[in-house]
């Protein structure tokens, strides 16, 4: 039960389980962003859920094609804003009005007005830290090991290659049927990725 839940959470980060025979998934290369987006739409409507596209830059419209909703980073960030604001208010009030009150030219020990700059700065700082921390957490990064790195072709995903990866953990996954689907969607080449450090390239 718990194991299933953890696997589900990891799948949202793009971290999938390999099959018992060591097959991690299929990696298909597409010629351009236009074909890739159509392929993603096709794979999604065919019922696949454990798949992802890899491209050197974000492709507009891909979230919708893959059936992904809005990113939840905003909620995490506002949590950071509240933390920063609360911390700044408490810090200034507690240090100057409670722990060690000092009379500075008869000014109140604590007032909102002179506290605003620090409140603003800490709100921004904590929002930024939560946004980045939240992004890394939701993406499951840093992830030094990824079976996709065994593919030699995959190094071009950060240059000029457009890839679609269907994970073997998907309930619809079938080595030959999925490969046929990807080729039908316009894949230039399909690779079988193994979790043991090698991949087999099937060019069309």
């Amino acid at each position: 039960m718990l194991k299933k839940l953890i696997q589900g959470v990891k799948a949202t980060m793009g971290i999938y389980e390999a099959r018992e025979d060591g097959i991690y998934g299929l990696l298909a290369e597409f010629p351009n962003p236009g074909v890739l987006i159509a392929a993603a739409r096709k794979v999604h409507t065919s019922g696949y859920r454990h798949f992802d596209t890899h491209s050197p830059f974000p492709i507009h419209g891909m979230d919708r094609a893959m059936g992904l909703g809005q990113s939840r980073i905003g909620y995490i960030t506002i949590l950071g804003s509240a933390t920063g604001l609360g911390l700044a208010t408490w810090l200034q009030w507690w240090t100057s009005a409670v722990d060690y009150p000092l009379n500075i030219s008869g000014k109140p020990f604590f007032a909102i007005e002179p506290s605003i700059p620090i409140m603003f700065e800490l709100t921004v700082l904590f929002s930024a830290l939560f946004a980045v921390g939240g992004m890394l957490a939701l993406n499951g990064l840093p992830r030094p090991y990824n079976p996709l790195f065994y593919s030699r072709e995959f190094t071009r995903a950060s240059d000029d290659g457009f890839f679609l990866h269907v994970a073997a953990s998907d309930s619809n996954f079938d080595l030959s049927a999925t490969e046929a689907l990807l080729k039908e969607a316009g894949a230039k080449a399909v690779e079988v990725i193994h979790d043991h450090g090698y991949s087999e390239l099937h060019t069309t």
């Binding site: 236009g34 596209t53 890899h54 830059f57 492709i59 990113s71 240090t95 620090i118």
Partner: protein, 468 residues
């Protein structure tokens, strides 16, 4: 042949952001290449000069810490002198980067993609130089941690009602947020370098810093949202930093400082000087590294227009200060401004006026906006003018205080001059190291502004093919 190497580009209505019909791979190659080969010989000459200056800076700091700040020209009544002038100068320069990456991002100014990486790097290095000056100016550097709210043996806390403490928070938060923003932008490009790396050691180092980035769409989705949020957070932050710096002056009761125009006027000046510094550096870098197709003449022209705009805003603020001094009918305020323009520092005042208000007005002429030598000259003149602005504000207001018996003329010492020169060494050394080891242009972002990155680009292409 894959479409990514397809070099046909349909001509859009606006001039293209990237010239020379470059494809995705060309951009990767053009930018990454410079981090992988031996740098050009100009780079070695530049780093020799800048690291020598850095050594001078180190010596001057050691001398200062050993002897105390009496080695500087600071004295009564000018207690702030050059260190604060230099601090405001550097922190001002450090505004352009985050402005370009955050504000222009929110305004969907796509031309920013070519210059944002190097401008952000420049920002970080300028802020490092800026943080150095108040740190050494406190005299007892070893207790600088008293400015932070850390529990200590005296059970004392920092004074949160002081603008100087706000400044500590404002500048250090700005540094941290800019660093995060810059690093997050770098991750996909570090992955590009990792995937190109031939040697295992290099691949390991880059693999560590690129966090295992694979360009997955599930990741891009959260990444882009985070980038947007960081831009939205950094936008008020950029405007706040120099506002808080101006509070150091404006919250005091010194004539010439105690004015409400300071925050907007400081922010405009900061953007003005920052863009000038970006221009100085990029004119050299694009030439030396041959990336004129990515950082095009149009980019430089757009920066020239921003310099013209902000320079005129700053000039307007100078004139407004005079008007308000007269209009307020406050004798001390009026004297402070008359003394600026006609007193012993009139030379500095008119240097500032001509460099900041008058000189950028040449940019009304399109031919001059597109002339590289003229742009380079102006970018230098603007930064000279902006240094003098801070000098005028700091020194002319302090040298005539309320007690005429303490009036004096401020002179810098050789240590002042060498420390300031040395700070350029620190700045340039860091910038040269950046050019050598990191992609100086945001590769992934430049690819996004190519017409081929739009999935619909291929629909049109297919339709054309079928029609033929």
């Amino acid at each position: 042949m894959s479409a990514s190497t397809d070099k046909t580009v349909t001509l859009p209505a606006e001039p293209p952001l990237v010239t020379g019909n470059l494809g995705f791979h060309d951009i990767t190659q053009l930018v990454s290449y410079h981090t992988e080969k031996r740098p050009p010989s100009v780079w070695y000459m530049a780093i020799a000069v800048s690291s020598t200056l850095l050594c001078v800076l180190m010596l001057m700091i050691a001398y200062l810490v050993w002897n105390g700040i009496g080695v500087w020209g600071n004295n009564n009544p000018v207690g702030w002198g050059w260190p604060i002038v230099n601090f405001v100068f550097w922190v001002g320069i450090g505004h352009a980067g985050t402005l370009i990456s955050a504000i222009l991002f929110l305004f969907r100014q796509q031309w920013r993609t070519a210059i944002n990486r190097s401008a952000e790097a420049m920002t970080l290095f300028a802020v490092i130089c800026a943080l150095l000056f108040p740190t050494i100016h406190v005299g007892r550097v070893w207790v600088i941690y008293w400015t932070l709210p850390l529990p200590n043996q005296m059970e004392m806390w920092p004074q949160f009602k002081s603008p100087l403490l706000w400044d500590v928070f404002a500048v250090s938060v700005y540094f941290m947020v800019s660093l995060i923003f810059w690093y997050i932008g770098l991750v996909p490009d570090l992955a590009t370098l990792r995937d190109r790396a031939r040697n295992a050691f290099r691949r390991r180092i880059l693999g560590f810093f690129s966090l295992g980035w694979t360009g997955a769409n599930r990741h891009w989705r959260n990444y882009e949202k985070t980038y947007l949020l960081l831009a939205a957070l950094a936008t008020p932050l950029v405007l706040s930093v120099h506002s808080v710096v101006s509070f150091d002056f404006a919250v005091s009761i010194i004539p010439g400082w105690h004015t409400t125009i300071f925050p907007p006027y400081f922010v405009a000046g900061a953007i003005f000087s920052g863009f000038a510094m970006v221009m100085t550096l990029l004119i050299l870098a694009r030439k030396i590294y041959g990336i004129q197709n990515i950082i095009t003449m149009d980019h430089l022209e757009k920066m020239a227009i921003i310099i013209l705009l902000t320079g005129t805003m700053v000039g307007f603020a100078y004139i407004t200060e005079f008007f308000i001094a007269w209009y307020s009918q406050v004798e001390y305020e009026q004297y402070a401004f008359l003394n600026r323009a006609t007193g012993p520092y009139a030379w500095a005042y008119w240097t500032m006026m001509s460099c900041n208000l008058l000189f950028p007005q040449f940019f009304w002429i399109k031919r001059l906006r597109r002339s590289i030598p003229f742009l380079f000259l102006t970018s230098i003149i603007v930064n000279i003018g902006m240094w003098f602005e801070r000098f005028v504000i700091t020194v002319t207001s302090l040298h005539r205080d309320f007690l005429p018996s303490s009036w004096d003329y401020f002179n810098p010492t050789i240590v002042d001059i060498l420390t300031f020169a040395g700070s350029f060494g620190l700045f340039m050394t860091l910038f040269l190291i950046f050019l050598r080891y990191l992609p100086m242009v945001a590769i992934a972002e430049v690819k996004m502004v190519l017409p081929q990155s739009d999935p619909h680009y291929y629909d049109k292409h297919e339709a054309e093919h079928e029609a033929n």
